[in-house]
């Protein structure tokens, strides 16, 4: 599995490293808005994840990958390791850009931005885990083309149904004590995580969120591995 992950890093390096410029460009554009920055960061990370899959599709490299002594389950699970690495790298870049922005604001005597905080880092990880947990099983079941369409439809349906990226639901806002108004990015996940951390603290909240993200990815990896077993090339 480590070799498969390293294969993704070596073959997809050109895209993995794009996390940095993509996030910085996005950050420059949207850093005045915490919400926009948060979702741009999620979008950049998702783009990199899709790009790694695109690379194999574009090069028609799946027969090559399957000629290697690996099982399909290993190929699927290794992509989750890659996804985790992309998530952490994106978080690191996002946090660096956010901190720089916060220090800039502080130098001007302005308050530290609410969205540059531990709970929003957790929210980012959980949000990206949700995206990866939806995208990867679709990719492994239907391939790059149909899989992307399927994942986009599922995500779109999810956004419509839960208001994931849309305006916060009034009830959640009220329960969070108006977190959205205090600079928490819009969407159920960031606002839910802000609420959780407010109630249980950053450490306990962190454990819960990381466990939730890991559990979600573990279940998704099982689904993806089984789906991939059924694919034929």
């Amino acid at each position: 599995m480590l070799n498969l992950f390293l294969k993704d890093v070596r073959a997809g390096g050109i895209f993995l490293w794009a996390v940095v410029p993509l996030n910085i460009v996005a950050a420059l554009q949207v850093s005045r808005s915490g919400g926009a920055f948060f979702w741009a960061n999620v979008a950049c990370a998702a783009l990199i994840l899709v790009a790694v899959s695109m690379l194999e599709w574009r090069n028609d490299a799946e027969p090559f990958v399957h000629s290697l002594p690996v099982t399909r389950a290993m190929v699927a699970r290794a992509r989750y390791v890659t996804a985790a690495a992309i998530g952490l790298l994106s978080l690191l870049v996002g946090a660096t850009v956010g901190t720089a922005r916060g220090l800039g604001l502080a130098a001007q005597g302005m308050p530290w931005p609410r969205w540059v905080s531990g709970d929003m880092a957790l929210a980012f990880l959980l949000t990206f885990a949700v995206v990866a947990a939806i995208y990867l099983p679709c990719h492994f079941r239907w391939g790059f083309g149909k899989g992307n369409v399927a994942a986009a439809l599922v995500l779109a349906a999810g956004i419509v149904v839960t208001g994931l990226a849309g305006p916060a639901v009034t009830g959640v806002q009220a329960a969070a004590g108006g977190a959205a108004q205090r600079g928490v990015p819009p969407g159920r996940i960031p606002q839910g995580v802000a609420l959780l951390v407010e109630h249980v603290g950053l450490v306990a909240g962190g454990i819960i969120v990381v466990a939730l993200a890991a559990g979600l990815l573990a279940v998704s990896a099982q689904v993806a591995a089984r789906a991939y077993e059924r694919r034929e090339f």
């Binding site: 070799n3 390293l6 294969k7 070596r10 073959a11 050109i14 690379l55 090069n59 028609d60 490299a61 027969p63 090559f64 399957h66 000629s67 290697l68 002594p69 690996v70 099982t71 399909r72 290993m74 034929e232 090339f233």
Partner: protein, 286 residues
């Protein structure tokens, strides 16, 4: 000793095409040519060996193991060269080798380096910038460098110049000479197999036409040519894929002695068939 590759009654159904109960085996230390027209099922068989598609019936064994249940162990013993080798176009050959290397338990880096030198593959060039022939050479170096027990070559000589093609065939013969490794060689270029293959397996429309040693094949099949006026019903029944022109008829027979008796004294000849003759006339008769 168990065959290195064994297919017993393997079936696979697609819309418009079925592989029907194909059985053949390849002992260790031999080269097997897998021949047949386009769409015959050769690539489906190659994909099954690699686990890219799953058989729906029958049994397939590589080194005695099922490629589905023992996928990793089986693939560790297979070297594969695709008709159009596809890796990552934006990587150099050396970088591709460094990706491939850790996967194989018997990867031999000095051997890989010797092979790319011998094949004149520029390891510093992007894979996507290589000619088709050089890509095939790079794929061959990767496939040969981990001491595979079974080399699976899917139309490998299609993009190669005649000089390298000849040296490749010699290399394949040497590869199996120790009696441990075998080569499954799927190709349309039947002249390659006439030089190299110990066994020949002919697939057509998803069915096995024959699988036998090269000697058995060439001892069995003959081409009959002659004046169309001598082609009576009894001779016609002994021939496969008969082609009748204004001046001559041609057909394939597996009963050369019987046809010679029937033709006694008439204007016709019975001569050794080439593999291309066998594919062509046997194909016409199906």
């Amino acid at each position: 000793m168990n065959p290195i590759l064994e297919l017993r009654g393997v079936t696979k159904h697609y819309p418009g095409f079925s592989l029907r109960e194909v059985s053949f085996s390849l002992p260790r230390g031999h080269v097997c040519g897998l021949i047949g027209p386009n769409g015959a099922g050769k690539t489906t068989i190659v994909k099954m060996i690699l686990g890219l598609v799953r058989p729906e019936g029958g049994a397939l064994r590589v080194c005695g193991d099922d490629p589905v249940t023992a996928e990793r162990a089986v693939k560790d013993r297979i070297g594969f060269v695709h008709e159009v080798p596809a890796y990552y176009d934006h990587l150099r050959v050396g970088a591709i080798a460094s990706i491939v290397r850790p996967f194989y338990s018997r990867w031999d880096q000095p051997l890989f380096e010797a092979l790319v030198r011998e094949f004149e593959v520029p390891t510093g060039k992007w894979f996507g910038s290589l000619s088709r022939g050089t890509r095939t050479k790079a794929a061959l170096a990767l496939a040969l460098a981990h001491h595979a027990d079974l080399l699976v070559l899917d139309e490998p000589t299609a993009g190669l110049d005649p000089v390298f093609r000849r040296s490749l065939l010699e290399r394949l013969a040497a590869y199996v000479a120790d009696g441990q490794a075998s080569v499954l060689f799927s190709t349309h270029i039947t002249s390659d197999l006439e030089r190299t293959a110990d066994y020949l397996t002919f697939i057509r429309d998803g069915r096995l036409v024959f699988s036998a040693t090269r000697e058995e094949v060439f001892d069995r099949w003959f081409v009959v040519r002659g004046d169309p006026r001598v082609l009576d019903d009894s001779i016609r029944q002994s021939l496969a894929g008969v082609e009748v022109g204004p001046h001559a008829f041609t057909g394939l027979t597996s009963d050369a002695a019987g046809v010679r008796r029937q033709l006694a004294g008439r204007e016709a000849v019975v001569e050794a068939a080439t593999l291309e003759d066998i594919m062509y006339y046997a194909g016409r008769s199906c």
